[in-house]
Amino acid sequence: MGLAVFLVAAAMAVAGGIGVVAFHEPIRSVLSLVVVMLALAVLFLLLSAQFVFVVQVIVYAGAVMVLFLFVVALLGPAKELGRGRLRFQPWLAGLFAAVFLILLWVMLQGVQYRQPAITDLHIFGTVQWIAVELFTKYLYPFELTSLLLLVAAIGAIYLSKRSIEDL
């Protein structure tokens, strides 16, 4: 059962990913991205990470994608121009991808997959568990992330101000 769900969700994620790069209309790419996000959410659920599942659906599939849709809607239904390609580019790309896939396949034959560590699934993945982990074990990376976001915000303000005198 779990395997079947995984296979379906994984196939949807890959198909969505291909859709993102393959479609020419931005709106279709955005909608494909929604498919990827939702499929990933299902994968998180399979890994018993309920909280991440909820966040993935609300924040990514919800909020972030709505922003994307807004931008696309504001810019109008523009179409990506298919110019600037070499004549043999599709064939070459296919060839390289095939070679890379074969290499990857050969290489991955000897992989030793680890067994997952046994955790208490009653608390694993819950909000409380994540909070405890964040503020004890991952305290330092967590604080670093806040600093990172602060710097990104400063940069966004500086770069997007209309004139430097506004600062």
Partner: protein
């Protein structure tokens, strides 16, 4: 759903533990405090006084951070912190001191530059502070998670300052290019890290080493991870064949930024390479040594040959930086050998070279910074014409930097290369050292070519304005490039001490 009482987890993180952890990362914490203070100052003061005040706050922050690191180097009991996610060992302290000094130099040079070009100063200093913090985090990271966060903190700050000249297309282009290529490289690093995590089950670097020691057979997941991380690191230290972004980004960015990142990202990138490859994956050394040897050889050849044809000083120094990354990689490769003596010599030579490279390369960029006018950077070779008339001191110092970069004795660049190449030979990579020596000879051509306009007679007699702070920074860099060459022992001892003990064990 379980009742809440049953899900309660015991919280064992006490105040004393928190303080002990904080003191291990004291230089980073100090600088972060001053970063936040600088933001408040920038907001609170009237516009006319902001720039100077923020610069002052940043200066105090750098000096205090340097002092803290120095104190901890001598008296602190250095060890892991935050459940093993960071460390305050001598390796990280060495780099923290290096980055604090770099911050001071950058501040000194950029202060007058920003005034001359009429840029807003506040955000600039704040972003450079953030980048320095990112570099320190990277150097003190003992987990893949922290290392990645440090890398991103440093990169994001730099993407923004690269586009700091908002009216200039070149600066914008530089920022956009750096953002795209940097994001690409980060993705490589992250993918590699994820695979290593998947193969070992931990992100803590010492634990990765232990796990790999226990399982003797090599796991393809980890090998793939090494390749992907190696590609990402090569992007970050701008080593060939992943260097294409370097000249364009260096040329477009404002010169103090170029000077800062040419030294800073390189040192931080190498700190990360040493931590992860030499510290976390010593059992797979033959695999990553082959990868790095290829990258080193290409970097030296491509960097030096391409530098010959450049007419822009920024581009020339960018290609020279690519070549220098190749030289330093020789030391890293030697740092993967099983023999502890060879290993220590290799890693110590890397630390030594990165430290002295800061002064000679930053100094060269700092001289070019002073040439910049209100309308833009002047970095053509011809802009240096008659420098010996316009400013004899700067002409002499530029000569020192160039000869040091080329590796002439008695300047410090010679000793840096000497240590790197000796380590390379004793590690058995003689062919690589032969390539390095041959390419060093080639490099003399373009370094000396920079000096021709400096000492040529020219009709240009316009005086250059030298601000006190940037003159002091340049003189300090020049003096150290010479003095450290005459007495290399102090830094060499520090570099040797900076190689953590844990790297020697199996």
């Amino acid at each position: 759903m379980m009742p809440l009482a049953a899900t309660a987890v015991d919280l064992t993180y006490s105040w004393s533990q928190a303080l002990a952890d904080l003191s291990q990362i004291a230089p980073i914490a100090t600088l972060t405090l001053f970063l936040l203070f600088a933001i408040v100052v920038d907001l609170a003061l009237p516009k006319s006084r902001r720039g100077d005040a923020v610069a002052m706050v940043a200066a105090v922050g750098y000096v205090l951070s340097l002092a803290t690191a120095f104190y901890r180097w001598n008296y602190g009991d250095n060890g892991p912190a935050y459940q093993g996610y960071a460390t305050g060992d001598k390796f990280s302290l060495f780099f923290e001191m290096l980055f604090a000094v770099l911050g001071i130099l950058t501040l000194a040079v950029s202060h007058s530059y920003l005034k001359r070009r009429r840029f807003v100063a506040g955000e600039f200093h704040v972003l450079i502070l953030a980048a320095v913090i990112g570099m320190m985090v990277l150097a003190s990271a003992t987990s893949l998670v922290t290392a990645f966060l440090g890398l991103e903190l440093l990169s994001i700050s730099l993407y923004i300052v690269c586009g700091y000249a908002r009216g200039e297309t070149k600066s914008q282009e530089s920022a956009a290019k750096y953002l795209l290529v940097g994001g690409f490289a980060s993705a490589f690093v992250l993918y590699g890290m994820a695979l290593v995590y998947g193969g070992t089950g931990t992100t803590l670097i010492p634990d990765i080493a232990k796990t790999l020691q226990a399982s003797s057979s090599s796991n393809p997941l980890i090998l793939l991870g090494i390749v992907l991380m190696g590609v990402g690191f090569a992007f970050k230290i701008s080593a060939a064949p992943f260097h294409m972004w370097t000249p364009d980004v260096y040329q477009g960015a404002p010169i103090p930024v170029t000077a800062f990142m040419s030294v800073g990202t390189k040192a931080a990138g190498f700190a990360m390479v040493i931590r992860i490859f030499a510290g976390g994956l010593p059992h797979l050394a033959p695999e990553w040594q082959v990868l790095l040897a290829f990258v080193a050889a290409t970097s030296m050849i491509v960097g030096n040959l391409m530098a010959i044809v450049q007419s822009s000083l920024k581009r020339l120094l960018a290609y020279s930086g690519v070549a220098q990354a190749g030289y330093v990689l020789i030391g890293v490769i030697a740092g993967g050998q099983a023999d502890p003596a060879v290993r220590a010599a290799g890693l110590a030579s890397v630390l030594f070279y990165l430290f002295v490279y800061m002064f000679m390369n930053f100094g060269a960029f700092a001289v070019v910074t002073a040439l910049a006018g209100p309308e833009g950077d002047r970095d053509r070779l011809s802009d240096l014409e008659g420098l010996y008339r316009r400013s004899p001191l700067m002409a002499i110092l530029m000569t020192v930097f160039m000869l040091s970069l080329a590796g002439f004795p008695p300047f410090v660049g010679f000793f840096g290369k000497l240590f790197l190449f000796t380590a390379g030979v004793s590690a058995g990579y003689t062919w690589l050292v032969v390539v390095a020596v041959v390419m060093s000879v080639v490099s003399v051509y373009y370094y000396v070519r920079v000096l021709i306009p400096v000492w040529s007679s020219s009709v240009r007699t316009d005086k250059l304005e030298w601000s006190v702070s940037s003159t002091m920074a340049i003189v300090l860099s020049g003096a150290l490039s010479l003095v450290l060459g005459l007495y290399p022992t102090t830094v060499l001892i520090a570099s040797t001490l900076g190689v953590p003990i844990s790297f020697f064990g199996p």
